[in-house]
Symmetry: C4
Subunit: 244 residues, 4 copies
């Protein structure tokens, strides 16, 4: 951890490192995917690992990047190609404090089938609200891109698709979820994946009854108050594994 | 474990703590869900963990609650919001000695699809009987609730849906199973989840032949006599993991 | 291990104990299921664990039972209720030297859906031949049994359903596979489960091309020569887990 | 490791051994399957384990084989029956430096259902290109073979099915992927399996939008530059497991 990070609340950096390990432990990310947290005192900066597998991240791998996607040091290590997912969402959404981007397995099918909308199937995923929007990168990058959100323009287009939602799917790629803190963003990434699996199963049984918009809002609020119950469990798991 | 718990049969408290760990180990509960046991000498009270992840519960986290859902101590820790699931079922069902509430993954699809009834697909789940009823919380809490069984009225409505069954599904939420002891309730929670997975698969192959009501009753009775075979295995697993 | 077992080839008893652990390690059995081996010198007897979870079996739990299902000692521990699966198949099939009975998860759906026949989808499961027969216990035990093969008559009816096949499914219950040694029976139990999972998936994609009878015979023969490749791997896994 | 191997770049042999362990760790291979690497200085030879489970391979198990499938030593251990998969692809494809053959579970259904083509569903599997061809061994070996690529003729027929693709499915058997180095071949084997699982799910939701040929090429190129991110993670996992 560089000197400039050392003056930030150490608990935030610890949560960010734990988030990397927890998302790996739970299978939300594999060698790819990333999680970031906005700087608590400077909304124009955010913390994120250098380009590496989340499961291997330590405090010394955390770097600072500004909202143009530029590392805040001349000697910065290689950043993620897709850091613009983070920088442009932080720019467009002042309320967002943490972001998780992943390729979690069960979400991807919902990103590629027109008309198959990820909907909240249980109270654990009320944050999905009235359904997750899908970002079609072809609309912004043309039909032959490498699918990566590798510049400001594509990041801004993704942020537009996200709109006021808590989650946006990315066609043939994965999803991005936002939160008011690291723990909430992790919670949402975990339960988005679980919701996708369950919704997929339910759709084969018949026509599911999803949460009403009111149920979604109220259950999401109730769960926000219970976040640490899951976090404490996950924290122990990665500590026992020697990841924390 | 408080002094008032110390005078209870220590084997019961040990089973209750083990039940928390086993349900987590087997993936029936994650950071959420809970298990309780009725007081062996006072049917108006039950034991349950304070509000925390089941996988982290120790004996010192077990508290006593009465059938109004009130903790039996002024200095009691924070109880589960949904303790009324337990208190009202214990009130309505004098035969019930233990209860597991979970959000186990494969059961939820059956809770949200009208007409998709959880049925006993093998002799391991004869306890499902003639099919699991579904509790629709909207009928009791209206269309915009937070989905939680957070008061006596909702607990009583759930108990009514349960009726004389061993399991009740809760729409967009999970399930609650009951037993004549902790081990039986755990067994039922585990095999309800497995049954859901298998029934789901079978439904895609064609029209399954379920157990007849007679087969369900007889196989459930036979399995009750074999409960400890599974319990001993699960107990070793959580002991080896350092959870017990 | 009793004195009478000590005179048998120790390698056979070791394989039988390992088989219990391997089947548990690979998820073919859970707290239930059993595996047996015929006595190498007395075809009228077989070795099997006393009634307990396979994952917990040690050499001292192995007992001898005759083809009437009677333990060969007055002080024998409690045998499995369903030992008649083994005794009657050994009686009917002199070529069979080892038997595995399990409730493996993906096989059960094929047991309950009329017309859904377990067929060999890949060269690893050529032993399934022209499709697994299904034993409907109602035909022998009536419509209200406890589903268990708990006596000689039911065991004999199961053996009749098995016929000359290597595997028989049991409606709403599981399967039984046979082999010319313990390792082959274990291999078949493992790959029957995997085949069921893959066939289930393939059926959703369209109409699968199964192995021809000739391909089934030839690939099964080729795999028989490679059995120890898998066994050595599984043996290490259970040894490392501390099960062996 | 024999003397003749000792003079080769030790990093290559280390990667090859790690590849065996990683493919096992990730469930791409079980007791069966194999991985090879072409000799860096002699394109007419390749390195591969002797016939054994990949999860158990050590450096001393690596042997050299020529493009006729002949071990390069009179005292060579038993080679894999299907080494002709490797020798004939190396002969037909001078650009290929590494090969993985596996029976990975989700790929097999795509190999047996006519018309179900494995297509790239996300940017992680752009290497699948315009869809994986399927090798029907019956066309080369007749209707009653043992399904194994056990001689040069069958290896050559497989290589013809592979053509210029990076992956070829083998009906009722598995798949073979190629790469310009060991790490790329492992990456492709891992993500081919994941792609199959996700495509299978997507097909049940409706009609998936696959990568365009341009997106496939570009995303594959982008991922090639990120290969070590996954490799480093996998390497740690097998090291921690004591496999490396």
């Amino acid at each position: 951890m560089s000197m400039s990070l050392a003056i930030v609340d150490p608990a935030l950096i610890e949560d960010l490192v734990d988030a990397n390990h927890i998302l790996f432990h739970l299978g939300v990310v594999d060698g790819f995917g990333h999680v970031s947290a906005r700087h608590p005192e400077d909304p124009g900066r955010f913390f994120i690992s250098r380009s590496m597998a989340p499961g291997l991240v330590t405090q010394s791998d955390i770097m600072m990047i500004d909202l143009d996607g530029q590392p805040l040091s001349d000697s910065a290590p290689t950043p993620y190609l897709e850091r613009f997912i983070h920088s442009e969402i932080y720019r467009a959404r002042p309320d967002v404090v943490a972001i998780v981007h992943s390729h979690s397995a069960a979400v991807i099918p919902f990103s590629v089938v027109p008309g198959a909308t990820l909907m909240p199937i249980s109270h654990m995923s009320g944050f999905i609200g009235d359904g997750a929007p899908v970002f079609e990168i072809r609309n912004a990058a043309g039909p032959n891109s490498d699918m990566l959100v590798r510049n400001r323009e594509l990041g801004a287009a993704l942020a537009t698709s996200l709109g006021r939602h808590n989650i946006v799917l990315m066609r043939g790629h994965g999803s991005t979820v936002v939160g008011f803190n690291v723990r909430q963003a992790v919670y949402r990434a975990v339960y988005a994946e679980l919701n996708a699996r369950q919704q997929s199963e339910a759709l084969r049984l018949g026509t599911p009854t999803y949460l009403t918009p009111g149920e979604a809002v109220e259950s999401a609020r109730a769960n926000d108050g219970q976040q640490d119950r899951a976090w404490n469990l996950w924290k122990r798991a990665v500590t026992q594994k020697g990841l924390a």
